[in-house]
Symmetry: C2
Subunit: 326 residues, 2 copies
């Protein structure tokens, strides 16, 4: 009886394990080198007894957002949000007609590109939202993201996320990784939807941020958004933001542009097994094709240095079976 029970339990376990192995965790990835590299890396850092084993608390993976987790063409989603907000608020700010970067936003049509730097983007977003509480801002973003549609595809922005990356996030979490976003976008903007869309809770989002102030208004405490930028989470800012927020060097980093160079460099320069990956936008048919000359998501130096640094480069065209969720 005792032996029987043990055998029965063992066979249940073995069925469970083999069906786990039979399921492809990355079905939207073609069976090319990047998928193999990801699976092999995760296996070697999680297998007990592996020389590359990484204890679970140290399994930190950081992801850029724009162009890495969701589409960033023709303009950053948050820039579109800011454009809508600036237009809505313009009657209360007559000075914006003469002041850059607001002037160029107000004279730009819905489907036109606007050349703004990442720094200008943050300035616009923060200036357009000064004087409101964090709770009010969250509500505005929530309302906007629930309805705003991409000008060319007509889809919700939150539907223009990369299916292969959603699978990758889930695969990493299933293997004990904590997944973080480290993006140049505004931290409070992203937090409104990252949990629902990516399964990433607000406390695992790192982004650019403005100054805030705690105050009690008529007995009710609020946190007020002030018109001052205190941190830009881009380029050399990314490792700084990662250290401040996580306090531990990531084991894996995923990006798509030169804005992610230092995040990839910092991550992959650590001791032990490390993994860096660049999503290359080379699929004009299903997404967009752009790299060295692009004003949005420019990829130049990181592409040149990827081979010598051992970073995996993913071709959207060749390595992804599916781009967006169907």
């Amino acid at each position: 009886m005792r032996t029987n029970r043990i055998l029965t339990l063992a066979s249940v376990c073995s069925v469970g394990l083999s069906s786990l192995h039979a399921t492809d965790p990355l079905p939207s990835w073609n069976d090319t080198a990047p998928k193999q590299a990801i699976l092999a890396f995760v296996e070697k850092v999680t297998r007990s007894g592996s020389p590359d084993f990484v204890p679970e608390p140290e399994r930190i993976a950081v992801f850029d957002q724009d162009g890495t987790l969701w589409a960033e063409q023709p303009i950053y989603v948050q820039l579109r949000f800011a454009l809508d907000r600036v237009k809505a608020l313009a009657p209360q700010h007559p000075e914006w007609k003469r002041k850059q970067p607001f002037k160029k936003l107000l004279t730009t049509k819905q489907d036109q590109r606007v050349a703004v730097t990442e720094q200008e983007l943050v300035e616009i977003v923060i200036a357009a939202h000064a004087g409101m509480t964090t709770a009010e801002f969250e509500q505005i973003v929530a309302d906007w993201i629930a309805a705003a549609r991409h000008p060319q595809t007509g889809r919700l922005y939150t539907d223009l996320v990369y299916q292969p990356m959603l699978e990758l996030l889930a695969h990493l979490r299933a293997n004990g990784f904590k997944t973080f976003i480290a993006s140049g976008g505004g931290i409070e903007f992203m937090r409104v939807f990252t949990e629902r869309v990516y399964g990433i809770p607000p406390e695992q989002v790192i982004g650019s941020s403005g100054k805030t102030r705690y105050e009690v208004r008529d007995g009710k405490p609020v946190i007020l958004r002030l018109p001052e930028i205190i941190f830009i989470d881009d380029k050399v800012g990314k490792p700084v933001g990662i250290q401040r927020h996580i306090g531990r060097r990531p084991v894996m980093a995923f990006g798509n542009s030169d804005g992610d160079f230092q995040m990839l460099e910092w991550t992959t320069s650590g001791p032990g097994a490390r993994f860096g990956l660049i999503v290359r936008h080379d699929d004009a048919g299903r997404e967009w094709a752009y790299d060295r000359q692009s004003a949005v998501g420019r990829l130049d130096r990181a592409l040149d240095e990827a081979p010598s640094r051992g970073w995996t480069v993913v071709s959207m065209k060749d390595d992804w079976r599916i781009v967006f969720p169907e």
Copy 2:
């Protein structure tokens, strides 16, 4: 056979559950009102179908450190660390002999109190460590905390943590809470030991911080600590730090001084079930007794307002069976 197996599995499960129920999760707490309030609150926010149910991702609990998780008398642990560092570095900084707050540190004996504000403390700590990398700083703290002993008790500082609070942290985590530290102490100082001592990983530590810079030295990237304070996580800074780091209002907050007032206020003013608790130092025999007049951990306004705000006040003397781990 099949029935037998199911019965056997069921009895295993039921033994497991009943032994779980029979185990007191807070054995170092006396069976007084605070313990009952904690257990009742956790039960009502975690029981499925409860009108006060809080979904797991929203179960955020924030803890002050000094005086709430470990002893802060006769001086903050980090001030003792800074004192040791300032003395070690003094030969390289002749100007400190004439400059406050360094001057008073250099002329203070090991077992003497030094009156410094929380702001001065942060200034000292950051100034004493400018120009080194985050990795170098971590090593210095790790070496110090492994050896430094409390001047009066002779125990390691990390042994002067409150056993009842360790049990509380574990009980909350067992019930799906994420536990965070939100302390006026330096974020990088605390992170060196919070995982080992409290089970709180570095990414769940919020604290005061200095400016840092990413740079590549001889091909090796480092994050450099600069002599500029950019955030003080005390008083009105606590809700600001919590919002910046977590992006979600906590459900439970634990403090011991007026420095925690706004954290408690912000937490307990949210909608739905909320819990605020103050550890009161009234046990001169086993710990220290201090409140309204103390230079360290002054507790005045928060004590006055606790009843009207519904905050639980813990008397170390009456409510804790054990103070420090044995």
